[in-house]
């Protein structure tokens, strides 16, 4: 049996899946997928086709940064430039 992790366990883990990241942040899956493909979200992947693992704290902080910059009126390409400088 492979069970879904409880919120307590997710909050105690170093790494989370993209689905768990959706549960933690309330962001849409397609949005997070887009951020990942655009290199805006840090992740680890042991081999190609294996599940991506996201460092929980870093990924959440990054999503917050992107959201704040977007609220500030910046476009995705501008946000990408800013994030690459940090």
């Amino acid at each position: 049996m492979s069970r879904q992790r409880t919120m307590e366990k997710i909050l105690a883990s170093e790494y989370v899946s993209i689905g768990e990241l959706v549960r933690l942040t309330g962001c849409r899956y397609s949005t997070l997928k887009f951020y990942t493909e655009e290199g805006m979200l840090p992740f680890e992947q042991e081999e190609e086709n294996l599940t991506r693992r996201f460092p929980r704290e870093k990924a959440i902080a990054k999503i917050k940064e992107v959201q704040d910059l977007k609220k500030g009126g910046l476009s995705i390409s501008e946000i990408k430039n800013i994030l690459s400088l940090w």
Partner: protein, 329 residues
């Protein structure tokens, strides 16, 4: 706040359903909600399991961990029996035998459990403002799930199903419930559905729970066809051409073309708008007039509508306005 497995499914299944009448589309959802309660009990080890046989005794229902909605479903399954022993697929197929009375009870307990925590509300259906529904004394309300939680539940499910990697038992059961309730089409696009089918096949080959559950069919083809037909009709009537056709022949899809009668014959634009606002207020809708004029634009319950002056021909002509979704193209 994290909801239980069955509550998560109910949030999807009840959203936008008629809350006052037992419609065909709602019956499909309610049966699946009853199945979700069984799945939840299975996941939480609520059955006594010996090999493949799950046993449930009436006295088990008195445990403090049993929720009211679980109790309602299980009592309906037990009937007059003290014990029930069956395999998981057979337990799930039992829901097809639930009577309308049982289904109403299931709806009530699930809806109450979600309303208590403010995750579900009943809102007036705009169609209740229509002249024909108003004069027939038909009151119409529908369920609306908390938008934020709805997004969280559906999006995390989409992530788990569409991404590579192991699917959890919850996701497998949820996928089966969505398939049986016809809600898959509400959550996945046509293109994504191809991937969903691939994932279903993959998981069927590799997972024992999927092998057990995915072949189980609890939907009734006629009911499912009715539900799908209504969805397709609504989608077609939302297109630019469909909206035009529906304006001339509102009988095709009443929920997309609402006629509100105005009091005075040949009333001016201010009087017309006043009458429309009065009807909306009377039926408890939230609205904002975005733009006044000959054809005002009004935001009602988060959707934009234009109020076009028109007349309906009965034995005599009735002046009024027709509300139709404001085309955002």
């Amino acid at each position: 706040m994290e909801l239980s497995f069955a509550q998560n499914f109910s949030l999807i299944a009840l959203n936008a359903q008629d809350s006052l009448h037992l419609t065909t589309a709602k019956k499909v959802s309610l049966r699946c909600m009853a199945a979700a309660a069984i799945c939840e009990l299975y996941l939480d080890h609520g059955f006594t399991i010996k090999e493949d046989v799950l046993t449930l005794a009436r006295q088990d229902l008195e445990q403090s961990t049993t929720t009211l909605y679980q109790e309602t479903v299980l009592k309906a399954l037990l009937g007059k029996n003290e014990n029930l022993s069956d395999t998981l697929p057979h337990y799930l197929t039992h829901v097809t035998k639930l009577s309308n009375k049982d289904l109403k009870e299931v709806e009530l307990t699930f809806a109450d459990s979600l309303k208590e925590i403010d995750e579900l509300e009943e809102i007036p259906n705009l169609l209740g403002c229509d002249l024909e529904f108003k004069t027939a004394g038909i009151s119409m309300k529908e369920y609306r799930s908390n938008a934020e939680l709805f997004t969280k539940v559906t999006e995390s499910l989409r992530a788990e199903i569409l991404e590579e990697g192991t699917m959890t038992d919850e996701s497998i059961l949820m996928l089966w419930l969505l398939r049986e309730s016809g809600c898959l089409y509400d959550i996945f696009s046509k293109e994504e559905l191809k991937r969903v089918i691939e994932r279903m096949n993959e998981v069927f080959e590799s997972n024992s729970l999927a092998k057990l559950v995915l072949p189980v069919i609890i939907h009734k083809s006629i009911e499912m066809s009715v539900k799908n037909l209504l969805t397709i009709k609504r989608q077609v009537m939302s297109t630019p051409i469909g909206t035009g056709i529906n304006f001339t022949f509102p009988v095709f899809e009443r929920s997309q073309s609402i006629f509100i009668d105005t009091e005075a014959l040949f009333s001016n634009k201010e009087d017309r708008l006043r009458d429309v606002i009065a009807r909306l207020e009377e039926n408890g809708h939230t609205f904002t007039v975005i733009h006044e004029g000959e054809v005002p634009v009004i935001k009602i319950d988060n959707f934009l509508y234009e109020a076009i002056p028109t007349a309906m021909q009965y034995r005599f002509s009735v002046q009024g306005v027709r509300l139709r979704k404001y085309p955002l193209y």
